[in-house]
Structure formats: C-alpha cells, structure tokens
Amino acid sequence: MSAEWRKRLSTGGMRCVAILLFLAIWFIVSIGNAHWWKFFNPVLLPTPTEVVKAGIEAWQSGELQDNILASMARVIQGFAIAAIAGVAVGLAVGTWRPLERLVEPMIELLRPIPPLAFLPMMVLWFGIGEMSKIAFIAYAAFFPVFTTTVEGIKYVDPVLLRAASSLGASRADLFRHVVLPAATPSIITGLRLGFGLSFFVIVAAEFIAADSGLGYMINDARTFFMVSQMLLGAVVIGLIGFGVNILLRSLEGWLLRWRVATRG
C-alpha cells in the first residue's frame, strides 16, 4: 500500500511537488524580503501572483498574443530554412566524399563562433526588419541540423548496406531504403536541437533590433522598469519551449517507434 503510494508520488506527483516547491520558495523570498528582511529593493523581485497579474493585463490588451505570434513566426520561418538547408546539405555532404572534404573545413571554421557574434552584422546586411531575424535564426539552427545529418549518414551500419545490396538494391535504393531511415534518428535529434537553438537566439535578436516579440517585450519592460513584465516574458518563453519540446518528443516517439521496441 505504502509502496504503491510512494511509486505514484514519484512518477506524477513528484513533478507537481517540485514545481509547487519552486513557486513557494520564490513567493517566500519575494514576500519575506518586501516585509521583513529588506535585503534588496522589493521592486526587483515581484511575487508569482504579480507576474500572473501582469500576464492577464498583457493578454487583455492583446499585447502578449501579438508578441508571442511575432516571435513564433520568426522562429518557424528561420527554423524551416535551417531544417531544409541543414538536411539537404548534410545529405549531400554525407553521401559524396569529395564534397565532404570541401565543405567540412569551412563548417569547422564557422561552427565554434557563437552565432550571436554575427547578429550585428546580420542587422547591417538585412536591416532591422523581419529578414535579419529570420536569417539569424536560420544561420544558428543550421549547424546542429547539418552536423547530426552528416553523422547519421556516415555511421550507417555497413552490414545493412551489404544486406540490402544482396537483395538487389541499386545505389538509389540503398539511399532511400537504408541510408535515409538509418540516419533518421540523428536527423530528428538535430532538428530538435536546432529548434531549441532557434528559440534561444530569437530572444537575443529581439533584444537588439525589434519592435515586437517576446525578447522585445522583456527589453522594453526593462526600460520602463516593469520587472513583472520582464519575468512574464521569461515565463512565457519557458512555457512555449516546454510545450514544443513535448510535441517534438511525441512526434519523435511515433516516427522512431521501432527504436523504442529495441530499447524494450
């Protein structure tokens, strides 16, 4: 009885407890500081309820939805470009050796440079409109997608290629029926990483040059010292990231259901 209860608690319940505990600590620190300890200016850390209130206000004015949509539109467009380019170039480089020797050094040269270093340049090249943000996301998200695609193709089990060719597979068949499905798990991992990174860099891009979006919302709130709204921006980004990740995970689980079987 108690074992069952403990198990149930550890699965679903524990998560809720952890979240509630986090909120409670936040609440206590905020309230405690405002009324008793007075370590710092209470304006600097609003309570969770104040953030929720700010959220409701921003929602009612329509401002929150607009900013979410603006950020999401940029992320989706930039990520789509990165995904298509990353997979396409990755497949080409992974299958064709001479191209690999040509492209790999260039990529290795660019990859260690944090994409943010190019952001001011992107603004110069593409202006402060949508284009610079989309291009920036596309650039940043390209690398994980490209790298994992190439890895996935390179490490296809050679015995599977032999098996397929002994069953009569042509080069095109090998690519379509062996290389591509074998590389799918790493391609999906790359897409997930790339999407995460898109989300990561859009906020920075919107700090620098934007008049809408969640990053803009945070930065704009900073100039008016509206800390609740700054926290609201962060919370909304966290919630969206969390939701999208669940969505991508379940898509991955469905696409790679054979791999779940392998683990079991």
Binding site: V159, S166, L167
Partner: protein, 267 residues
C-alpha cells in the same frame, strides 16, 4: 514463384551441373595473402560448408561469391558468368542478422519483392508465406528489437529466401546463438533446403554443424588461407551426431583443423 512451391524437380538431385566455379581466386590485402589460389566447383542445389578457424579466409571466399569483394587474382563464376557485384540472385544471411531495425518482420522479408516493384499485396503475401515457413507466423508485426536472436535469424533467412535466389550464402549464421537454438535451426535449415533446393554455401567453424548439414565440406587452411581438403559426404540424412560414421569423420576433421589452429600460434 509458384514453381518454387511445387515438388523439387526429380532431376535436380541427379544433376551435377556446376553452379559456382572458383578458379584460382586469390585475395591479398597489401602484402598479406588472405586467400591463396582457390579452385573449387560447387554443384547446383548442393550444400557446401566452408570450415576452418578464424583467419582461414572462409568469409573472404564467401564475400567474393556474394560480390562484396573482388578477387585480386583469378575468378569467381556463377552460372558461367564472372561475379561483378552483389545480386538478388545470390541471397546472403549474416551472423549479425543485419535486419533493418526500422522495418517490422514482415517488411524486412518483403524487402526483396518490394525492390522488384511487386504490388504491395503480393509483397505481403510472399513475406507472410516465408515467415510461416521459418516458423514465425503470428510475429509479422514485430520489430527486430522485440525478437530473440534465433527469431531474428529466422527472419533473415526468410528475407533471403523471399527473393527466390538460386544461391544462398550463409556466413556463420548460427554462430551467435545458444547451442539449443543452434541445433533446432540446423534441422530447420535442412528441411527448408530440401524443400527449396538452393545452392547453399555455409561458413562455419563448428565441425559437427558442418557434418550435420553438408553434402561437401571444404576444410580450409590458415596462414595463408587456402583449401586444405575437400570431403564429399554420403551419410544419409537425418544424421545422428552419435552415429559411428559421424563420429569418425568428426575426429578426422578435428585433427585437420587442430593443425591449422596451431599454425596461428597462441590464440
């Protein structure tokens, strides 16, 4: 396809038509001779075992027949034509199963028919039939990850047969299986071979496995890899491992193989 299900043609057992002809086939990797001038004729519908310790070039020889590697000298002919590369007419079964993990059992078996562009319904019908032949009816929808080693190898055998090749090449197919599963699959392999009548080339390092299965055993030498001695077996099937003829041959081959193992030095 239907002809295959009919009784094996009576002539097949008598026919001594050479199916695979290996003429002076040699394989070198740089200065290392992996396989030295092999001459061998394998008859149609025969069951040949290539037997020897690791390093005797038995897998290299099999890979040359499969078309995965080319001999550095000499030739491998199948039906009188030099082998240029892998072909659907020479099915291969690997020790490591080599199933496509993203395809279910039935989709693995249907792979060959799919490549041939058969209609979907026909692919599935063929795959289902061959899965049933290897005793896996009811497991069609399972992924390889959910099958035991023995079941995986059954799927791999069904996949090779579903393509209806005239030659079946098996590279230590039961090497990774436990003794019990191994003996069961050996018996089933003979049953399938008697029914399907393929020209089988079977690589193994197990002497009793070779004697249990083969019409002809090719004992291989090491350092360099070469053919040491060829045995044509006339023991009636099913063979009993405790029969005197079986035991005598086992002892004889054991001595030959032991001499080759000793050439390898400390192992």
């Amino acid at each position: 396809m239907d002809a295959m299900l009919a009784e094996a043609p009576a002539a097949a057992t008598d026919s001594r038509r050479v199916k695979i002809s290996i003429r002076g086939a040699e394989k070198r990797f740089g200065d290392m001779v992996a396989l030295k001038g092999v001459d061998l004729d394998l008859y149609e519908n025969s069951f040949t075992c290539l037997l020897g310790p690791s390093g005797c070039g038995k897998s290299t020889l099999l890979n040359m027949i499969a078309g995965f590697t080319q001999p550095t000298a000499g030739q491998v002919l199948v039906d009188g034509k030099a082998v240029q590369g892998p072909s659907a007419d020479r099915g291969v079964v690997f020790q490591e199963y080599a199933l496509f993990p993203w395809r279910t059992a039935i989709d693995n078996v249907a792979f060959g028919p799919m490549l041939k562009g058969m209609p979907k319904a026909q692919q599935r019908e063929i795959a289902k039939r061959y899965l049933a032949m290897v005793g896996l009816a009811g497991h069609e929808g399972k992924y390889p990850g959910n099958l035991s080693g023995g079941m995986k190898q059954r799927v791999a055998i069904a996949r090779a047969l579903a393509n209806d090749p005239s030659v079946l090449l098996m590279d230590e197919p039961f090497g990774a299986l436990d003794a019990q599963t191994r003996e069961t699959l050996q018996e089933e392999m003979l049953r399938i071979w008697e029914h399907e009548r393929k020209t089988v080339v079977f690589v193994t390092h197990s002497i009793s496995e070779a004697i249990f299965l083969a019409d002809r055993i090719v004992v291989m030498a090491t350092k360099p890899g070469a053919v040491k001695q060829v045995f044509d077996l006339d023991l009636p099937r099913p063979r009993e491992r405790s029969e005197s003829g079986f035991v005598r041959l086992e002892k004889e081959i054991k001595l030959l193989v032991r001499a080759e193992v000793q050439k390898l030095g400390v192992i």
